[in-house]
Amino acid sequence: MSQKYFEDFELGDEIGPMVLQATDDQVVEFCELWGNKPPNRFTSKEIAEQTGVGEPIVPGIMSMALIAELFNECGGSQNIVDLDVVFRASVPHNAPLHVVGTITDTREDGDLNLIECDILMTGPESQRYVIGTAIVNLPKKSDL
């Protein structure tokens, strides 16, 4: 994890890309914690087929948590103030997921030094799985 500062970002800069995946085991583990006990449409091919999604998919809230990790590249995902995502397509297990952010605004708001960016999670063939926006509060070099 690297520390980046508010002053390090300008409009159009990219964060990432980060490549990750959600394994079968991770999805099972997540469902157990979430209270959605497996087997379910997120973990079982049979149930996924019955519910019309075909293959087991990554739960939306898990995809959102994966996206948040992008900000470990700039000081830590704990600095996220707002994360807003739209699920455009089902996210598969065990497949490379590419996540990238593009800065669309930088501003100071009271004590906060905010960067705002568009977020995109895509598949190996550039399929758009999740889109969204994030606002992150970063420290300023000048405050050190």
């Binding site: 583990e29 019309g52 939306g60 948590a65």
Partner: protein, 149 residues
């Protein structure tokens, strides 16, 4: 032509509550591990304290895990058949750390149609506010569900 939506509008203004949800270091670490997090503030109390937190801190989307614990009523929407999770928004108001206890309160925020190339969809948005043991709001979570014609 105005799109007329039929659903139970009496649900506006009603709060649906759930909790308490005790937040433990094990739960935070389990969530972080399952989502592949490696950030030490979610695992190591000493690192978290050096960063100014009271203990192991929860990732920003952690409380989304509790949203489905709120029993939400059927809005009796007379449109579409298949409903799917269309989107989610988390607005972080304060950090959540191990030892906190959260409560959730959800209400129907809005129901609206949207028409595109593939036809009309109706979006149902629920908003859940999480407060901690001190009554402070720690996060607002919006969940959108869509139905197709």
């Amino acid at each position: 032509m105005e799109f007329k939506l039929e659903y139970d509008k009496s649900l506006y203004g009603k709060e649906h509550v759930a909790g308490p949800f005790p937040v433990t270091a094990d739960l935070i670490q389990g969530f972080s591990k399952a989502t592949g997090e490696s950030n030490p503030v979610y695992f190591d109390e000493n690192v978290a304290k050096k960063e100014g937190y009271g203990g192991v801190v929860a990732p920003p989307t952690f409380c989304t895990m509790f949203v489905r614990q709120v029993k939400l009523p059927d809005i009796k929407l007379k449109f579409g058949k298949n409903r799917f999770h269309a989107g989610q928004r988390v607005s972080v108001k304060a950090s959540i750390t191990a030892g906190d206890t959260l409560n959730a309160s959800s209400h129907l925020k809005e129901v609206y149609p949207k028409t595109g190339r593939s036809g009309t969809m109706v979006f149902i948005v629920w908003e859940t506010t999480f407060t901690n043991q001190n009554g402070n709001v720690v996060a607002d979570v919006q969940e959108s569900f869509a139905t197709r014609e």
